[in-house]
Amino acid sequence: MNERSHMNTDIRDARIGLLGDMIRIRVLEERCAELYGQMKIRGFLHLYIGQEAVAAGIVPQLEPDDAVVATYREHGHALLRGVSAASIMAEMYGKATGCSGGRGGSMHLFCAERRFYGGNAIVGGHLPLAAGLGLADVLADRRGRVTACFFGEGAVAEGEFHEAMNLAALWNLPVLFCCENNTYAMGTSLRSSESQTDLALKAAGYEMPAWAVDGMDVEAVRDAAGRALATVRAGGGPVFLELRTYRFRAHSMFDPDLYRDAEEVERMKERDPIATFAARLVADGVVDDPAVEALWAAARDETEAAVAFAEAAPFEPVEDLTRHVLAEPEDHR
């Protein structure tokens, strides 16, 4: 094989990888919804369905040393960061082998090994944290590292957004701010919560470079994120990405979804990031229908194995209730 066909194969594989990643998230979460109905998963459950192109376009580009800080709508980010579907599912079951030992549940997935720092459920609360992770990298002179911080457009109204954006820009911190603008914060649209809805203009208030990207197009996300990450890694300071996306499901399993037209949702579903990208790949001759079906089948296998793992996993004994409040002696340095 000559170099060019090598490259072609790499590109082909990468595109298939993007599709496969989105499918893995979708399948995992469709199953979560079922399991919620069966009361296997409890508490709040926020599905990412419709937004998969964002995580798929960004997370796999991160290096092992990078860090990720996300919201309660983070199953997809965790999965693509390399947290196993099994440990994610066990976490949602509240089992001891879950990625947070069962303590966190759906909203608080953690994996220190992958530098995946939550699963944060105070809207906006994790943005200062991301700035701090970036500050640590600067102070420890760990050049090239990036912290990717995911949050919804609703967080933009919070004071913590404002303070974190200013700190990151002022101190030139290596943080990629990924604002997933899915139009709604629970039932409140951006239009009814921000006087200025062009989020890039907000970033300008901190002199932070900002780009808006079609978040339903995984390749557009990947390309924008690639450029942004290159800037951040090179010491160019933080970048703000607005990913324009949409959630197809209700905010959480409690949400009666009264605040938007079914028609609007249907219209957006025509732009389903998975269906549209699969169609593009078929049109480009990269995959055929059976190949796409194979991706779904693989994802179903992964998810079913995860469910089996979670089902079989043990609960933490109740005697351990007060563990993990403070360090245990062996945690002391």
């Binding site: 549940g105 967080a155 629970m186 409140t188 919560s193 209730l321 007060t322």
Partner: protein, 334 residues
């Protein structure tokens, strides 16, 4: 406490909603403000469809800006309105504490009594829904620490129905804590009115006094039933107001029973249960037959799995055990 009885039975949620509706109807100065109080109907559906009746100006969705909109509520109160501000979950109220403690609670004082802040802030609180460590706490005790605030925790359908009006009638900032576990409680709302202050004896008994509030009241009543089967006759006091505390009512009861169990869902150390234990001991030291027993939240951020969540907050069995110990004079140090 709740006026005459009626022949109605409604839920705590419905009672609260009726109270809001009445307030909006009878007083032009009243408006509701908070995250998703309009179309979404509030996270716990308390304000459901009120905006269709009163419009979006008076049932006002806010951006996610807890400090901003709580502060705006305080300012609007200063400007002559009677805002009812909703904070979805007590953990988020931390974002607004500066406004509540440094402004709402101090303005009257710093101005030498010139201004009033008649704001009402509704906050949902409590565990029990597997919402884990950023959505499940009970910080009522913190608020009860702060001079300049009044803090209430309706634990009955009648109080859910009528305390709001009393709060709106008060010239000072009132924080209303609504325990999420109570929203489906059913009962007779009564005809009202009720007073904002004053504890209520929810069950009479002569052997031991159980003092509880908010989500702990139904549990205390259940515990009293179990204790009765074991021959222990417990009196149950619902605090209703956490600041000020109704010390005389508690004293009257403990003077009769000589024994007390205090129950609070919040963490034990420096919590409401500590204040209750200290107060009762101060007021009744020489008639106590045993030290006051505290039943309080375990000192752990609330974990997600049901068995651990249940174990982290007081359950009926814990109250029963504490009361039994107190009857036997066993000291229950922490």
């Amino acid at each position: 406490m709740s006026g005459e009885l009626t022949d109605r039975e409604i839920t705590y949620r419905e009672a609260m909603r009726e109270a809001l509706q009445e307030a909006l109807t009878t007083d032009d100065r009243v408006f509701i403000m908070g995250e998703d109080v309009a179309d979404y109907g509030g996270t716990y559906a308390v304000t459901k469809s009120l905006y269709t009746e009163f419009g979006r100006d008076r049932v006002r969705n806010t951006p996610l800006s807890e400090s901003g909109f709580v502060g705006a509520g305080i300012g609007a109160a200063l400007g002559g309105m009677r805002p009812i501000v909703e904070i979805m979950t007590v953990n988020f109220s931390l974002l607004a504490l500066d406004q509540i403690v440094n402004t709402a609670a101090t303005f009257r004082h710093m101005s030498g009594g010139q201004v009033s802040i008649p704001v009402v802030i509704r906050v949902t609180t409590g565990a029990g829904r597997q919402l884990a460590a950023q959505h499940s706490h009970s910080l009522e005790g913190w608020y009860a620490h702060v001079p300049g605030l009044k803090v209430v925790a309706p634990a009955s359908v009648a109080d859910a129905r009528w305390m709001l009006a009393a709060a709106l009638d008060d010239p000072d900032p009132v924080i209303i804590f609504e325990h999420t576990g109570l929203y489906n409680l059913r009962g007779d709302p009564g005809t009202g009115p009720v007073s904002l202050e004053g504890a209520a004896v929810r069950r009479e008994g002569g052997d031991v006094t159980i003092v509880a509030s908010a989500g702990m009241v139904p549990k205390a009543l259940d515990a009293a039933d179990e204790l009765a089967e074991a021959g222990i006759d417990a009196e149950v006091i619902d605090l209703r107001s956490l600041r000020p505390l109704d010390r005389p009512a508690i004293r009257r009861s403990v003077e009769r029973t000589g024994r007390a169990v205090v129950v609070d869902e919040g963490w034990r150390s420096v919590g409401l249960s500590a204040e209750l234990a200290a107060t009762i001991t101060e007021d009744c030291f020489y008639c106590l037959d045993a030290p006051v027993a505290r039943v309080a939240g375990v000192e752990v951020p609330i974990p997600y799995p049901k068995h651990l969540e249940d174990a982290s907050i007081p359950q009926v069995a814990d109250i029963v055990a504490a009361a039994t110990n107190v009857m036997e004079g066993v000291t229950v140090g922490g």
